[in-house]
């Protein structure tokens, strides 16, 4: 079972990297989603895979050898909650940026890093400052 899941994790990571190299912001976001799922599956595999073995320590033993480790599953739960909420946030951010900039192509999103200086003039409300209002 482990080799199958390991290969699956590899395929998912390859898919996510391919999508993140795209020029479209939406594909990059989906690529991150696939990557975080690959990470969760990887942690799941690292915690041993067993079927039908309850995680109960027998009375004459001190450790649990055969059953799956439950800690990685707790880690995955934490990671899923975090990535889910961040993904929801980033979708809102993506929608807002599409409305502000009118594009989802990363090559056209150059407002924070313009290629040249803008023409002379007020970028922000310097007039407010001069007139004593809060900037």
């Amino acid at each position: 079972m482990e080799p199958i899941l390991a290969v699956l994790v590899g395929i998912l990571i390859a898919v996510s990297i391919y999508m993140m190299m795209s020029g479209s912001f939406v594909r990059i976001v989906l690529g991150i989603l696939v990557l975080s799922n690959a990470a969760n599956l990887l942690i799941f595999t690292a915690g041993r895979l067993t079927r039908d073995v309850p995680p109960i320590i027998p009375g004459d033993k001190k450790t649990l050898a055969a059953a799956a480790n439950s800690l990685p599953q707790a880690l995955i739960l934490t990671a899923i909650v975090i990535s889910f909420s961040l993904f929801a946030f980033i979708l809102v951010l993506a929608f807002r940026s599409y409305r502000e900039m009118g594009t989802v192509e990363t090559a056209e999103m150059r407002i924070a890093e313009p290629h040249a200086s803008p023409p002379d003039g007020d970028e922000i409300g310097a007039a407010d400052w001069r007139e004593g209002r809060r900037p």
């Binding site: 975080s36 993506a94 502000e100 900039m101 803008p118 970028e123 922000i124």
Partner: protein, 540 residues
């Protein structure tokens, strides 16, 4: 020693979280937010001072959640290194909040500036103090979500564009961190950092350990803006409100550097070849940041590139060893103060003339006192006496010469020179020059910035001047912190005994700086008690 003293370790993250929660309860009322934030910061300041003094005298203090025995419970631990950084972060946050009170507008406060700021502080303190690598991932995500909120607080197009780049690259970094942590758990079967150190001792040559170490380097290197993974920083940091840029520059990349130092001295000390990797990464980061700064025509982006350049100096400690580490840690403290001050100065100047492009607007003629303060910060950043930037560079060059590392010495000196050129050019063009072109309305400057907003900026200038004129306490701290980073035995012993302060056992010996230290200090580690014995003893 008092059993309640160990609470000092968790209060730096609990207090800001409580404050943020109270602010959310009083949503949309900036006056209440200000009061809550002020009280929280006062309590936090008292706590971090007490914590620092305690750790300075008695060695590491730990607290394990739910009284589970390590390595099962999540451990929080403060040693001299992390306690000092928490204190410095609190100081910077207090100064930035004072600056924010006079520059952030009412609308941004209603949108939740203060709760986001407090959540950011909780994340930063949590990252500094946690002793559990998965818990560190959680604090990174807390920092991430709070910092995105702060970055887009004014909702301008520029900020949204910057926030997208920041968010995407940070998410990739934290996901790589998660992948590395999953693999590490598969190798070592534990997440407690002290226990990981014991478990991986002498396994630095294994290919899997090497691979995980490189994955961590990628994840934390992205957080810390190390070459070649720094491009998100100059794309986003400058877009924020000046106070947001200032607190990001002061805290966020420094968290990445702290974690790099902590993980590579504690968990992966004997991975082969990492010091060479760090040497070249440090040199490339220093030089590419400084050269990038030379090419900028926007004052804020120029500072963002200088922030990147500064990260290189902080990595030299991992490349050369304990002596350089003291210089790196001193540089880290200095960089916290100076990069934040530069962003504040640039923000004030931008508010005065309406843009931060390097064009003669004669700010010096209209606000000479303010301009001289900016010049002082710029000189400090470039490492010129009598300001605080001088001493870390002296220590780094000294350590580089002693360790026979010509690459490090050349990079430090060349990057310092290029920074001086970049900052000199920026000051001459943005502050000194006066184009005399009266045609544009934006050219006119009626008055300098308000005194109340300059005061916190001036506090930072005084701090860096103090670090230059009276460096002894800062150098002493940096040396103790470097020892604490490399000599991991007291750290591990403190976690293993679940806190010397709790069970009345004698505290571990304070590191005194003698004897050989460096990677693979196996002899000292061997003295640390074995965690498995502790477990058996306490779990009958």
């Amino acid at each position: 020693m008092n059993i309640y003293l160990e609470w000092l370790v968790v209060l730096p993250l609990a207090l800001p979280l409580i404050g943020a929660g109270l602010c959310v309860a009083a949503w949309g009322r900036p006056g209440v937010h200000k009061a809550i934030t002020a009280v929280t910061m006062l309590a936090l300041a008292a706590d971090v001072i007490a914590l620092f003094l305690l750790v300075w005298d008695n060695g590491p203090v730990t607290m394990t959640m739910g009284d589970w025995v390590p390595p099962f419970g999540i451990t929080f631990i403060a040693d001299v290194f992390s306690a000092g950084l928490v204190a410095a972060a609190t100081f910077m946050a207090a100064v930035c909040l004072a600056f924010a009170a006079f520059t952030v507008d009412e609308e941004a406060m209603i949108r939740g500036f203060f709760p986001l700021f407090l959540a950011l502080m909780a994340g930063v303190c949590g990252s500094f103090l946690t002793g559990d690598i998965f818990n560190l991932y959680v604090w990174f995500e807390v920092i991430l979500i709070a910092s995105i909120g702060l970055l887009i607080i004014d909702c301008t197009r520029e900020q949204i564009d910057g926030a997208i780049k920041y968010t995407i690259l940070s998410l990739i970094a934290t996901t790589v961190f998660l992948v590395a942590t999953g693999l590490l758990y598969g190798i070592a079967g534990t997440l407690n950092m002290a226990d990981l150190a014991l478990s991986l001792e002498g396994r630095g040559g294994e290919p899997l350990v090497f691979g995980v170490a490189l994955l961590y380097l990628m994840a934390f290197g992205m957080k810390a803006a190390v070459f070649p993974l720094f491009f998100w920083l100059p794309a986003s940091y400058h877009t924020g409100h000046p106070v947001v840029s200032a607190i990001f520059a002061a805290l966020l990349t420094k968290v990445g550097v702290y974690v790099l130092i902590r993980v590579y001295t504690l968990i992966f000390p004997d991975v082969v070849g990492m010091d060479t990797v760090f040497l070249w990464l440090a040199a490339a980061t220093m030089l590419s940041g400084a050269i990038g700064a030379l090419a900028q025509s926007d004052l804020r982006r120029l500072i963002a590139f200088l922030v990147v350049s500064g990260i290189g100096y902080m990595l030299l400690g991992l490349a050369i060893g304990p002596q350089a580490m003291a210089g790196s840690i001193l540089y880290l403290l200095h960089s916290m103060v100076v990069t934040a001050a530069l962003f504040m100065g640039a923000g004030l100047a931008r508010r005065m003339v309406g843009a931060s492009w390097l064009r003669g607007r004669g700010i010096y003629r209209h606000a000479p006192f303010f301009s001289v303060l900016v010049l002082a910060v710029a000189l400090s950043m470039a490492g010129s006496p009598p300001f605080g930037g001088l001493w870390p560079k002296v220590m780094l060059v000294d350590a580089g010469l002693a360790a026979d590392a010509p690459v490090a010495v050349t990079a430090v000196l060349l990057a310092g020179f290029l920074s001086l050129v970049a900052l000199g050019r920026a000051f001459a063009l943005a502050f000194w020059a006066d184009s005399g072109d009266e045609r544009s309305a934006a050219h006119q400057i009626i008055a300098g910035p308000p005194v109340a907003a300059v005061a916190p900026f001036a506090v930072l200038v005084v701090t860096t001047a103090l670090m230059g004129l009276w460096p002894a306490p800062f150098v002493t701290y940096a040396k103790r912190a470097a020892d604490s980073a490399f000599d991991t035995a007291p750290y591990i012993a403190a976690v293993a005994s679940d806190g010397p302060t709790m069970r009345g056992e004698p505290p571990p010996p304070v590191p005194n700086g003698d004897g050989p230290k460096g990677y693979g200090n196996a002899k000292k580690k061997a003295q640390a008690p074995d965690m498995s014995e502790t477990l058996i003893a306490r779990n009958p």
